[in-house]
């Protein structure tokens, strides 16, 4: 691949295999940078990165912030809790105001799916999607795939299972897209009320029975479940959800010996995963965090040093 062309990172959908592999290679090098005594390189010196978080998220924000700082960029953090966002006008007005500071990269997390093309009309900065509604969370999928690749060496033919609230999950959608690009076979499992209508068209096999779904899985990604979903009758009770969809000690015994268990964090112990197996499961989840930083450094580096004609919109 000659030059990185994309002005924005909106989703895994638009990335080619080659582009994803470039990000992986960079992430490997950046892992090395974080092990040096001076954990800094001047690659993004003088660039301004704005973390524009319209949805609360300490973990993702810190990850992006540190990634930008380690590459010597100037970082601005803007957050606005969901409740103070009354009308969409605030979002676009905010972008317009920030534009006065000539930011180079906007890292955006927002509660509305597919909002980024609209936002990109109001700024010259490159936009990195840190999660848009239920649509995509590309850096999460990249770090998940990278973590699996580090251990399994290749993603081809792997059986990947995603468990939980698929309907509302951007992590699920990005991961399904990403793993499929590398030839993995993806399955989803959750209560029927939390799997979208016509989801089969995404190419993932649908299971309602976790024991069946995980039988020969190589990778299992457990998604967070929001307890409020019970209020909207997506499932009758937390107890029943845990009984059917939680990774209990019994279920852990039945998994393949080398099955990897991932979680985007933070884990609801004893809801998604039993706290009895914390020791077994936690190290890899923490490795995901480490890899997340390296992946985000790679992404910011590519978007921040991209040379190309100015494009409007996407």
């Amino acid at each position: 691949m000659k030059t990185w062309q994309k002005k924005h990172l909106q989703g895994i959908k638009e990335l080619s295999r080659e582009e994803i592999e470039t990000i992986f290679n960079l992430a490997s090098s950046f892992k090395g940078l974080s092990e040096r005594e001076v954990k800094k390189a001047p690659a993004l010196r003088g660039k301004t990165v704005v973390n524009l978080f319209f949805e609360n998220s300490t973990r993702t924000r810190i990850s992006f912030e540190l990634a930008a700082k380690r590459l010597s960029a100037d970082v601005l953090n803007f957050s606005s809790t969901a409740s103070s966002l009354q009308k969409g006008e605030t979002i676009i007005d905010t972008i317009k105001t920030l534009e006065a500071y000539h930011p180079d990269i906007l890292v955006v997390r927002i509660g509305y799916s597919n909002c980024l093309p609209t936002l990109s009309k109001y700024t010259q900065a490159g936009i990195v999607n840190a999660g848009d509604g239920c649509h995509e969370h590309p850096t999460q999928a990249l770090l998940d795939m990278f973590t699996v690749k580090e251990i399994k060496k290749s993603l081809e033919g792997l059986k990947v299972l995603i468990v939980g609230d698929i309907l509302h999950s951007r992590v699920a959608r990005s991961n399904i897209c990403g793993f499929q690009k590398f030839g993995a076979k993806v399955r989803v499992c959750g209560p029927p009320t939390l799997i979208p209508y016509k989801f089969e068209d995404m190419g993932a096999e649908i299971f309602y029975d976790l024991d069946k779904a995980m039988a020969d899985a190589d990778v299992i990604i457990m998604l967070r479940i929001q307890k409020e979903r019970q209020q909207s009758s997506f499932f009758p009770s937390l107890r029943e959800y845990v009984e059917k969809f939680s990774l209990s000690t019994e279920r852990m015994e039945k998994l393949k010996k080398d099955c990897l268990i991932l979680h985007p964090g933070p884990v609801n112990w004893d809801v998604e995963i039993s706290s009895q197996v914390k020791n077994r499961v936690h190290p890899l989840i923490l490795r995901q965090v480490e890899n997340g930083l390296a992946i985000r450094m790679g992404v910011l580096y590519l978007i921040g040093t991209r040379k190309g004609e100015y494009e409007t919109g996407n």
Partner: protein, 425 residues
């Protein structure tokens, strides 16, 4: 004033002929060879002339939201699009649920003099769906039809009473078919695309369930009902069957359901100018709508012209209000995408946009170019193209996905009651 149109190619749904037209005192006096002199003469060689269009479903936002559209801008937009009569929906502030408000709209529009505005009265007081409004008083004030558009009548027992009461007033009930519990917070058609893109979907059954309900009521009470903006395969199947069984149901669709699908929403990056209710459908819905126009299952076309402020559409898709303006290019759009593509014929388009609405609303002197009829006509050049641009839009609002579209069949004259209400030569 005496007005003569020379060498007109007259398009009536059942008959086309080449002739001159003499208009006097707001009426079509004579069709044939006219040799007498007139105050004004329009040469129509090479142009088509058809009866003034009638829109059964427009939102004029007046009273109460005149920043989006007022009677004057609505009249100009209508005239530009070849409309000589429009029916304005009552979801204004206040709602048109009483004689005074209805009368005011009717009279003001008359004063402006570009188009006949027939207010649509609300079925229930303040459109709350609880108590019936005064149907007879509304009829007196100029209403031809009733609707709670924007909402369906949730309580079937109230709709039943409304249908029964409408027999007495002679007003047609127009139903907005949507089950709001099913459509919920949806913003686009529920489909594999909405699943992939993580968007809350509006299932097609939200429309067809109410279509089924309303058909049953109309059948049971043997009373006519008209279904607004039909957009799905399933709704059309139900209506087709009901008509075959003799139920007095008529229906309309809007131009955008014949031209755009939900793929256009996705391909345009979820630009809120593609957000409308009912939402744009699947390709199968578009095909079904086109087929239904040809077969007659869909009786007529209505624009559902729905002005919204620029600021309101400059919002993320989820926050923006639903709706498109459309009076000004409805005819040209359908001429370009349906007539030119030989999906329907020109006489059929004229039928759907003028003659049928006139029949349904019982406007006996409109909808056809005929001696003695009201002199409402349109002269258009089928080969002249024009482009929809932001700065040439007559409406106060700009919310439409069709900006930039180059369309055929440019309207050159709109004549309303014998006077030129729009000219573009």
């Amino acid at each position: 004033m005496k007005l003569v149109i020379k060498n007109a190619r007259i398009i009536n749904p059942d008959q086309q002929l080449q002739a001159d037209i003499l208009i006097q005192n707001g009426v079509i006096d004579k069709i044939g060879k006219i040799s007498e002199k007139a105050d004004k003469e329009i040469e129509a060689q090479g142009k088509i002339v058809f009866p003034g269009l009638i829109d059964m479903h427009t939102h004029i936002r007046t009273p109460g939201q005149e920043d989006r559209e007022d009677l004057e801008s609505a009249s100009r937009a209508a005239a530009k699009g070849g409309f000589t009569s429009i029916c304005c929906m009552p979801n204004t502030v206040p709602a048109v649920d009483n004689e005074t408000t209805a009368r005011w709209i009717y009279d003001q529009a008359r004063k402006i003099g570009l188009v006949d505005m027939y207010p649509v009265g609300a079925i229930s007081k303040q459109r709350q769906g609880k108590e019936l409004s005064e149907f007879c008083a509304l009829r007196r004030a100029g209403c031809l039809s009733l609707s709670d558009d924007g909402d369906s009548v949730k309580d079937p027992s109230l709709l039943r009473k409304a249908l029964e009461y409408s027999r007495m007033s002679g007003l047609l009930l127009i139903s907005h078919c949507e089950d709001k519990n099913l459509s919920g917070k949806g913003v686009m058609r529920e489909s594999s695309l909405s699943a992939q893109y993580g968007m809350t979907g509006i299932p097609s059954i939200s429309e067809s369930i109410i279509v089924a309900r309303d058909i049953e009521l109309a059948r049971y009470l043997n009373t006519p009902i008209h279904l607004a903006h039909i957009s799905t395969v399933r709704s059309l199947e139900l209506i087709h069957k009901a008509k075959q069984e003799g139920v007095q149901v008529t229906c309309e669709t809007a131009p955008h359901y014949c031209v755009l699908s939900l793929k256009d929403v996705v391909e345009n990056g979820f630009d809120s100018r593609y957000k409308v209710n009912p939402p744009l459908g699947e390709e199968s819905d578009v095909a079904a709508v086109r087929q239904a126009l040809q077969s007659g299952v869909i009786d007529c076309i209505a624009t559902d012209h729905a002005p919204h402020l620029q600021g309101e559409k400059e919002l993320p898709f989820q926050e923006a209000p639903f709706g498109f303006i459309g009076l000004e290019w409805a005819f040209s759009l359908l001429y370009t995408f349906l007539v030119k593509e030989k999906i329907i014929s020109l006489p059929l388009l004229v039928d759907k946009m003028s003659s049928v609405p006139a029949r349904i609303l019982k406007l006996e002197d409109k909808g056809l170019i005929r001696e003695g009829n009201c002199a409402d006509l349109v002269i258009a050049d089928p080969d002249r193209t024009w482009t929809v641009t932001e700065d040439t839009i007559a409406s106060k609002s700009r919310n439409t996905p069709f900006i930039g579209y180059t369309l055929s069949c440019c309207i050159e004259y709109t004549i309303h009651r014998g006077k030129i209400s729009y000219k573009n030569v």
